[in-house]
């Protein structure tokens, strides 16, 4: 027996009985505290994982999940946090990621860490190369990679380059890479956030399969359905504290309970109520809108007929890669330089934008799906990000930025959107995902658009922040703004839209009023 059995568990919910003697803990994190200047990210967190279980870690954005995992993996080295980590019964003092990998812990982040220009087998054994003398033994490498690919049930040629694989397959390669290290504890940070339903299913099945092979798994996720489907245990964090650990096999886990613990209150409605209202006239319309890729010549959009009325929320449903984002970007100044044909009619007039600059001037805004990659300037502060798309509104003569007015504007949006930050001079990189998304929204609201395109508005955002974003959308629509919402989450599309278009392979394959739409109908059209 390892000494870790003597640990008294945090037991806020009273859900667990102390039956520690019956199980063996692979991981014990005790009284972990971690502070950033001005913020206590973790305070006395206790977290324990039993050998061979799937343990989900849930909580709102900023609750401390990622921070806790960074403490565990050595991203924040020993000495930068308080508390104790026991892994396999012995105390660990990881100084770097390398140390935790050595011990058998592997983390797979949301942002994948693969080298796109290298092949699958090169990536799998990167940093763990099989050698023959001083050279790499490529035959053995390929053989080993093939074995690992079978383990993760991925059927691809190991010589394929990573950049030629979809996100779902890349995720599996990443897991295969982790397995090559002889991993004992696998940590997945929102593994399904960027996956479509099919890939999600595959991945979840795989995780269950790995469990049967003896791999213990910690999964951070916002998708409660997944938690219910695969978790043996669930630990809820809130505001940097352990709220409770629930045992699925005792029937303690269901969606309402989880949400209650996560937000600290019961959320009755996930979507704010819709008031019946009169919609205005058509504000934006496309006719036979067709786009070709500038390099490959592939038809990206095929005769799209689309319209949106003033004050309407239109949902764009469809699978990832179906052409929804491409459609949005083709409207928004066409930054990808597609060859376009067909008509774009804005406020009754034909329009053509060859740069986002023009689209913004004409009253369009685009909250991108990848807020870190192309939405925000992470190294700049909140206020600079909010005003970036509309500096002319805070300009004095000589194109001089009125910095005082800028702070005032940013403070207004901070209050309005409830962005949690000590001040608007904070760098965006230090904010949690939900707050970053709010900065992104604030930026585009300040550009005062007529048509706002929301690309995956709630990706990677917790339940509480989601609700706030939904309320903002409702308010804006009630004030007469037209909102195009691209979303891969069907309940969200159904809950928020007045009308829904379904997109598949660059074509509109269906149009439904919200009242008639169901998940089944949409999926049918989307896979058509």
């Amino acid at each position: 027996m390892s000494p870790s059995f003597l640990v008294v568990r945090n037991n806020v919910c009273g859900a667990r009985n102390n039956e520690a003697g019956m199980e063996t803990a692979i991981l014990e994190m005790k009284n972990i505290s971690k502070s950033f200047p001005g913020v206590k990210a973790l305070s006395n967190v206790n977290f324990s994982v039993q050998r061979g279980e799937i343990h989900c870690l849930v909580g709102e954005n900023g609750a401390g999940k990622s921070t806790l995992m960074k403490v565990l993996s050595g991203v924040y080295p020993y000495g930068e946090y308080e508390g104790q980590i026991l892994f396999n019964g012995t105390e660990q003092k990881f100084k770097a990621i390398h140390d935790s990998e050595e011990a058998g812990i592997a983390i797979i982040y949301q942002e994948l860490a693969l080298v796109p220009e290298m092949t699958v087998y090169e990536n799998i054994l990167l940093g763990n190369e099989i050698r023959k003398g001083i050279a790499i033994d490529w035959n053995k490498t390929i053989q080993r990679a093939t074995e690992l690919l079978e383990k993760v049930r991925l059927k691809v040629n190991p010589a394929t380059k990573i950049k030629d694989l979809g996100v779902g397959k890349q995720q599996l390669v990443e897991i295969a890479k982790a397995l090559s290290h002889n991993v004992k504890l696998l940590i997945l940070d929102e593994p399904t956030a960027a996956l479509n339903e099919n890939d999600c299913d595959n991945l979840l099945d795989l995780i269950v399969g790995l469990k049967e092979q003896g791999v213990t798994c910690i999964m951070i996720t916002h998708k409660l359905k997944e938690v219910i489907r695969i978790a043996d245990k669930v630990t809820v964090l809130r505001d940097g504290q352990t709220i409770c650990t629930l045992d699925a096999h005792k029937g303690e886990v269901n969606e309402n309970v989880l949400i209650k613990h996560m937000v600290g209150r019961e959320i009755q409605n996930i979507y704010p109520a819709q008031e019946t209202r009169e919609l205005g006239s058509i504000i934006l319309q496309t006719k036979q809108w067709t786009a070709f890729h500038p390099v490959t010549g592939r038809k990206v959009l095929d005769n799209v007929d689309f319209y949106i009325r003033k004050g309407e929320i239109v949902g764009l449903a469809g699978l990832i890669g179906s052409g929804r984002t491409e459609f949005a970007r083709s409207l928004f100044g066409n930054p990808d330089n597609y060859q376009l044909s067909g008509d774009l009619i804005l406020k009754g007039k034909k329009a053509a934008f060859n740069h986002p600059e023009k689209a913004i001037k004409a009253g369009l805004a685009y909250v991108s799906e990848d807020r870190k990659g192309n939405g925000l300037i992470l190294i700049q502060d909140i206020k600079n990000n909010i005003t970036l798309a509309n500096l002319k509104d805070i300009m004095k003569s000589w194109n001089v930025v009125n910095k005082n007015l800028e702070v005032k504007v940013a403070e207004e949006y901070r209050a309005k959107l409830n962005i949690k930050t000590p001040n608007v001079e904070q760098k965006v990189v230090n904010l949690s995902g939900g707050n970053q998304q709010k900065v992104s929204v604030a930026k585009w609201l300040f550009s005062k658009p007529d048509v706002l395109i929301f690309d995956e508005p709630t990706r990677g955002i917790d339940v509480g922040a989601k609700y706030e974003i939904y309320c903002i959308m409702r308010d804006l629509a009630a004030q007469g703004m037209s909102i195009i919402m691209i979303s891969s989450e069907l309940p969200e599309v159904l809950g928020m839209s007045d009308r829904i278009y379904v997109v598949s392979t660059g074509r509109i394959t269906g149009e439904l009023p919200a009242a008639e739409a169901t998940q089944e109908k949409i999926m049918h059209m989307a896979t058509n």
């Binding site: 939405g375 700049q380 500096l391 000589w398 930025v401 230090n430």
Partner: protein
Amino acid sequence: MTTNDIKKMVRSNLRDYGMYIALALIMIIFTVLTKGLFISSRNIANLLNQSGYIVVLAVGMTLVIVIRHIDLSVGFLAGFIGAVTAIALVSWKLPLILVLPGVLILGVLAGLLTAYPVAKLGIPSFVTSLAGWLIYRGALLLVTGQTGTIIIDNPTFNALGNGYIPDIIKSETFLPGVHKLTLILGALAIVWFIAGQIRNRKSKMEYGFDVLPTDMFVMKLIFMAAILGFITWILAGYNGMSWTVVIMLIVVFAYDFITQQTVLGRHIYAVGGNPEAASLSGINVQKITMMVFGSMGFLTALSGILFTSRLQSATPQAGTLFELDAIAAAYIGGVSAAGGVGKVTGSLIGALVYMSLMNGMNLLGTDISLQYIIRGIVLVTAVVFDVSTRKTKV
């Protein structure tokens, strides 16, 4: 104030003013080692005149690095433009009033030429500017090939690099040997600075923002005024302000204003911080790239003019390695290679640190081999310091 607060304040100020402190330290050390010779009015005037061409280049390079590019062509372009200036003045006997704007425009065009493949086709600026480095080196040899060094006899032109602003009051009784116009300009600068600070503070108070408490604000003003006054006094002690210093100050002020206060400046830092996000925010990245390289070309021409004027001649070797001096100055001044971070004023200080080292070691008679080694150590120390202080979050 607890000791913790003080520690925090010191740390955050160290980061913001680290380079100023480093410059002051270097100056004090050389002053001690040279028994006061370094800080003499004559030497400081000389140091500033030597620094002119590198400050001007470093200012331009700052923006280029901020938008994640590099321009290796500036050294030989400066040399080439200097040679063209010399030929236009000496061989073609064109009036200075035409030659100066002409070569400045030539510089802008050269900058745009370097930028065009970068902005439109996405060719790495390292490659296009390396091509420029080769081409302008060849061009410089070509135009100076027959004559070798070209001596310039135009006194107005030569004054740009060697002359001083005239004094308005010539008095032998009141403060003899002190340049009065420089004193007056320094006094005006202090008044202007204080007025600006007060206006700024008022405006902040109107918005209801926090401002420094009055006593600390006054102390800050006195401190800054004292520093400005000291610099003025030193400059006035020799021949007063040189034309090079005037040009340098105008360039730094103009660029600092543009980058820190205007929409264009915001756009430049946005492009450096995240070009894709900048583009989706309605910023024309290609246009910004062209403008930044155009400005680099303009400043390169100005640098060439200053250097040629200082030597009073154009030589086939002019401009050799200027580009690396400018890049080093910008890095010492806190510009980040990852883009999006770096100030023009920082690069001014960086260039002064770099040139002070050179000047001080020359005064001490340090061997040139050792000088290079020490400059290398200072460069890497400065960047290590900058990066590590940036990491500690405030």
